[in-house]
Amino acid sequence: MISAYILIDVKKGHTVKVVELLKQVDEIELLSVVTGEYDIIIRIKVQELDELFDIMVNKIDSIEGVNETVTSIVEKDFK
């Protein structure tokens, strides 16, 4: 299993709509609306990198209102 954090910058006024669409993505295990440079942080779990690519391209980047994403794959979790 591969886990990754995706930090999402959302266009002003689109946060609620983007959250509602992200909630439909089964592979997302944690979705947080946050303060700071990015608006949303999600933790995603997939079987392989291909799947991560598909989700990023077809289910996240394609959402209207998503400005920029930063993806960080988890190498190891402690605790």
Partner: protein, 421 residues
């Protein structure tokens, strides 16, 4: 059926399953206290009851371990046992090192004495009073935190403590009399020991196997906790009990053994439901829902009293008894809900020097840190912190991470709203 509606249904059933597991665990917790009240009415000997309980507990968890060790499927040639569905870290028949067993043994000493006291107190209090009394442990843990961390309590913590103390006091009054000695034994001695047991158990579960990076799984932990407690309880029983009690264990014990098996089965099932729920949702929600066992103990004791009036007591202590019990239980739940749900999560993203990765275990051990993820990409670490207030999180955790010389950049992010586990 569209893909969207299938997903929505799947998300809904997952949510119902999560809440169902946590609430069922609360019902089971309240039920086993009622069953224990029944057992205490049948046999007035707390030493024999404690010994029988741990024998029954070891039998149940041992059988469960055997069932969970059955390999169900193979992934990449490795047999995956059934227990991994409950806890992904499950390793059948794993023997933990002494570093873990020493905490389990210490916990076992107090669990053994605490169980004897618990059965003794069930002679005094019915289950609907016993359940709120058992909630007092959280106050010791909070006060311990304030002292150790040299930190002031937040307003929510003060309110929670006051609500729980007032609720317990009012519940105790519902009997119509206030037995100061019994309340002292329950609040100070039994809950004090429960607080120590919680601390020792936490120490044991913090251990991580350095070769596999796996912590001790919850099922194996429960197995060793029960077996160790049985061994310690057996030693205490041989030394402290008189010859008549030794004989009574077999003679009288046989008459209540199956009821004790039922009680320990309910307790084990409640524990398993919690483990399963933890894989699906937040600890704070589970703790909140579990606290409902306090109020559930009232109707369950009433039902038990209606079915077996001689064996399951229900102290009304006058016409206001039921009102006092209900107000007490509601106050305890209010306090526990406040404490469980007031937690906030803070994320911190960090960039560290090459040597910084060696400090991960230190960061993971800091108060409030629930997870440290090592990342590939723009940032090196994503640290998840759970705290009662943002100020407390800053004082207890963020300031300490900032103080680590290898941390070059640290940005804290407050979560405004979140979904998932």
């Amino acid at each position: 059926m569209s893909e969207m509606s299938v997903r929505t249904r799947s998300a809904l059933s997952k949510k119902f399953l999560f809440y169902g597991l946590a609430l069922t665990s609360a019902v089971l917790s309240a039920s086993y206290v009622v069953v224990d009240t029944y057992v205490s009415a049948l046999l007035d000997d707390s030493m024999i009851l404690a010994q029988l309980s741990w024998m029954a507990g070891a039998l149940i968890i041992g059988s469960l371990m055997l069932v969970l060790a059955i390999p169900l499927r193979r992934i990449n040639g490795i047999r995956i046992p059934l227990g991994t569905h409950l806890d992904p870290n499950f390793r059948p028949f794993f023997l933990p090192p002494w570093a873990v067993l020493k905490w389990v043994t210490l916990s076992g000493v107090f669990m053994s004495i605490s169980t004897m006291l618990y059965f003794q107190l069930l002679q005094e209090f019915d289950a609907s009073i016993m359940a709120p009394l058992m909630s007092f442990t959280i106050i010791y843990l909070l006060i311990g935190d304030f002292v150790l961390e040299k930190d002031n309590p937040t307003m929510i913590e003060i309110q929670g403590i006051i609500a729980i103390v007032a609720g317990i006091f009012i519940s105790s009054l519902s009997r119509g009399e206030f037995d100061a000695k019994a309340v002292f034994l329950a609040l100070v001695v039994m809950n004090g020991m429960s607080a120590l047991i919680t601390i020792f158990n936490k120490k044991a579960t913090q251990w991580v196997d350095l070769s596999t990076r796996q912590p001790l799984d919850a099922i194996t932990f429960r197995f060793y906790a029960v077996v160790t407690t049985l061994i310690i309880n057996s030693i205490l029983f041989i030394i402290l009990a008189d010859p008549q009690q030794h004989l009574g264990l077999w003679r009288v014990g046989r008459t209540v053994f199956w009821t004790i098996i039922l009680s320990m089965f309910l307790a084990t099932l409640s524990y398993i439901f919690i483990i399963r729920a933890l894989r699906m949702g937040k600890m704070s929600i589970i703790n909140s829902l579990s606290s409902f066992s306090v109020i559930l103990s009232i109707p369950l004791t009433m039902i038990g009293h209606f079915v077996l009036p001689d064996a399951i007591p229900f102290d009304l202590g006058g016409s206001n008894g039921i009102i006092l019990k209900s107000i007490g239980a509601v106050l305890v739940i209010t306090g526990m809900l406040g404490l469980a749900l007031s937690e906030v999560r803070v994320l911190a993203i960090a960039k560290v020097t090459e040597d910084g990765l060696k400090q991960i275990n230190h960061i993971a051990s800091l108060k409030g840190v629930t997870r440290v993820s090592v990342l590939a990409g723009k940032y090196d670490l994503l640290i998840t912190i759970r705290t009662r207030s943002i100020g407390k999180g800053y004082r207890q955790t963020i300031r300490k991470i900032r103080g680590i010389p290898t941390v070059q950049y640290l940005e804290t992010i407050t979560i405004m709203k979140e979904w998932g586990s």
